[in-house]
């Protein structure tokens, strides 16, 4: 009996030791990526994660959530991060960086970063992964006599009660109003009076992508300050939307990636970033989402490359994009948001 017990204990001990030894090895083969849910998660799963798996044999596990939810979770998990890399917007990436949640990047470990466009080099801690614009999108079938060539056209009286803009980020209109008033995002106060003149034209403020899509699809708000990718998605669904790049340019947005401080998979994280910046992956992302690639050597399908808001040449990046300094945006968002809520939304 004792022998049986001893043999059993031996097998159990062996099994446990194998488990303990094997666990770190297995864990090495899985990279945890924090990203928005839905189509964003699917996009990265179908492109960069696939390439990463082919290159390294390692799997990608996604944890998903909203921009702010994930930021809060990362803050709470500090030094023991739940994810190894994080996708977020350029200005929120600065909040991660300022709070010491990101590793400083060594881009020599990311060969594809050699082709990054300048506008995607956001900080020493995070780099761009794809770009889009917030610009004027409208329903030509419902707005027959209105023509848009400039941001100033949004102020036309015939747009009274027809406009929608995001309620989560007023920075686009703040920067545009400042520009039209002779200032810029840093001197945004110059545009306050101009912005107040826009108030009668607002019908609603949308709260997320789905809300934006619904409001323009049912014609409730036939003019929107809209995310270009959303507009193209709705066009694909058969909604007649025209996207305009105003003569002053469209407001650039860049989603970014950074490596979480405290990750034990730094090498894999760099390989994943390299997969994201792979020219083939970048072209695939641009073709699927109708956004701009952030590396200069991505080859886009001609019908995608010619779309408004898709930038493929240095000339387009410099002349068609209004870039709000990402760090300034991170610092000013609360002030802008508060002013907008107090003066425009209520």
């Amino acid at each position: 009996m004792k022998r049986v017990v001893a043999a059993g204990a031996g097998i159990l001990g062996l099994a446990l030791s194998v488990l303990f030894v094997a666990t770190p090895a297995l864990a090495q083969e899985k990279l945890v990526v924090s990203i928005w849910g839905g189509s964003w998660r699917d996009l990265v799963a179908a492109t960069a994660a696939k390439k990463f798996k082919a290159d390294t044999g390692a799997d990608v596990e996604f944890i998903t959530g909203g921009t702010i939810d994930r930021l809060n979770k990362a803050k709470l998990a500090r030094d023991n991060p739940e994810s190894d890399v994080t996708f977020t917007t350029s200005h929120v990436g600065w909040l991660y960086a300022n709070d010491g949640l990101y590793e400083k990047l060594d881009l020599t470990k990311v060969p594809n970063a050699a082709n990054l466009v300048d506008q995607a080099k956001i900080s020493p801690y995070h780099v761009g992964t794809w770009a889009y614009v917030y610009t004027i999108g409208y329903r030509p079938d419902l707005m027959k006599d209105v023509n848009f060539t400039s941001w100033a056209d949004l102020w036309k009286p015939e747009l009274k009660g027809k406009l929608a803009a995001p309620d989560f980020d007023p920075s686009h209109l703040i920067a545009v109003a400042a520009m039209l008033s002779g200032g810029d995002a840093a001197s945004w106060e110059k545009g306050q009076a101009k912005l107040k003149e826009l108030k009668p034209n607002f019908k609603a403020f949308y709260t997320n992508d789905a809300n934006s899509q619904q409001l323009i699809a049912n014609g409730e708000t036939p003019v929107q300050v809209i995310l270009s990718m959303n507009a193209y998605y709705m066009m694909g669904e058969g909604v007649p939307i025209k996207l305009v790049i105003p003569k002053e340019g469209a407001v650039l947005g860049i989603d970014t990636i950074g490596i979480m401080k405290g990750t034990k998979k730094t090498d894999l994280a760099y390989k994943f970033i390299n997969a994201v910046l792979d020219p083939g992956v970048q072209a695939e992302i641009a073709n699927l989402k109708k956004g701009s690639p952030v590396v200069s050597n991505a080859k886009l399908a001609p019908e995608v490359a010619k779309l408004p808001g898709v930038f493929t040449t240095p000339e387009q990046w410099s002349s068609q994009a209004i870039i709000i300094d990402h760090k300034l945006r991170a610092e000013k968002t609360a002030e802008w948001r508060k002013w907008f809520a107090e003066n425009m939304m209520n």
Binding site: I68, L71, K75, W94, L95, N98, D99, A164, D167, F168, D169, F202, K203, A204, F205, Y206, T207, A210, N211, Q214, L215, N218, G219, E220, K327, A330, E331, K332, T333, A334, E335, W336, R337, K338, A341, E342, M345, N346
Partner: protein, 283 residues
């Protein structure tokens, strides 16, 4: 009363939950007293600025709007819910009773966002109501129901109705139908019997239902966010707009603390106002 040790074991999960809630509230309260540092997630030193910043007309208006929307929703829900609760209790046919119950509680099983998006389809300019009214020739142009108080209250009544009906039905089911029969046998008509017997005896249920509906609506978020479209805002929408969408957590915390204090104050007022009614029904 005998001491039953197992009761303590039963109470401990609730005590743990209460502890978690108190710890979270304490964290929110301490955040409300800290300064916001632009561009940083870490709050700064102690300050009362977050509360003094609330002394603007905008915030007073949103707090008043929240109270009025919650109050109107509670009253509309009571008016709609009372006949349904009576029917639920008094109907004899079990199939009909089940049908009423299922229809009443269904809104609770739909996700809040799904339910609210459905209301956008119903209330929109090209939505169900406007399409029907236009086709019937009753209106020439679509009625504006989205982004209005009417739209927000309509959607809130829909989700609050099950809570009200269940609470009223519980109260009405405790009223012996023989009281009404006795009143009718003494010459009172059905309306008089209802007004003098059923209604007064159901007042505890009405008070509980209205109070719960009010508190339930006070914290509404998705409905005013999506139906209100930034034009009709309640306290929770301001917390989201100014706190979570712009990382100003200290100010969001001060709004939350003020909203909570206001809820307690209004509920205390409601309690004081309804105490005489409760006293009447106790006799």
């Amino acid at each position: 009363m005998q001491d039953k040790p197992f009761l303590r074991a039963f109470v401990s999960p609730a005590a743990l939950c209460a502890f978690g809630l108190i710890a979270a509230l304490a964290a929110v309260f301490q955040f409300s007293l800290r300064a916001y540092v632009p561009g940083s997630l870490e709050p700064g030193g102690l300050t009362l600025d977050n509360f003094t910043a609330l002394a603007k007309p905008l915030y007073a208006r949103v707090f008043l709007d929240t109270i009025s929307i919650s109050g109107i929703t509670a009253i509309c829900t009571l008016i709609l819910g009372y006949p349904i609760a009576c029917a639920l209790v008094r109907v004899k046919n079990p199939l009909l009773k089940s049908a009423i119950l299922i229809i009443v509680v269904t809104p609770l099983f739909l996700g809040e966002v799904v339910r609210t998006y459905s209301w956008i389809v119903v209330l929109g300019n090209n939505g169900f109501i406007n399409s029907v009214l236009l086709k019937l020739g009753l209106i020439e142009r679509p009625l504006q129901m989205m982004f209005t108080h009417f739209g927000v209250i309509t959607a809130l009544v829909h989700v609050t109705l099950p809570v009200m009906v269940i609470m009223l039905a519980a109260a009405i089911s405790h009223i012996d139908p023989d009281y009404e029969r006795a009143a009718e046998s003494l010459g009172a008509g059905p309306i008089r019997a209802f007004l003098t017997i059923t209604l007064p005896l159901s007042i505890p249920g009405i008070i509980a239902g209205v109070t719960t509906a009010f508190a339930w609506t006070f914290s509404a978020f998705a409905t005013p966010q999506l139906i209100g479209g930034g034009q009709v805002n309640m306290v929770s929408n301001l917390v989201y707009q100014l706190g979570f969408a712009s990382f100003n957590f200290p100010f969001a915390a001060s709004l939350s603390v003020s909203g909570l204090a206001l809820t307690f104050a209004v509920l205390a007022l409601l309690r004081a106002a309804t105490r005489p009614l409760e006293a009447v029904t106790a006799h």
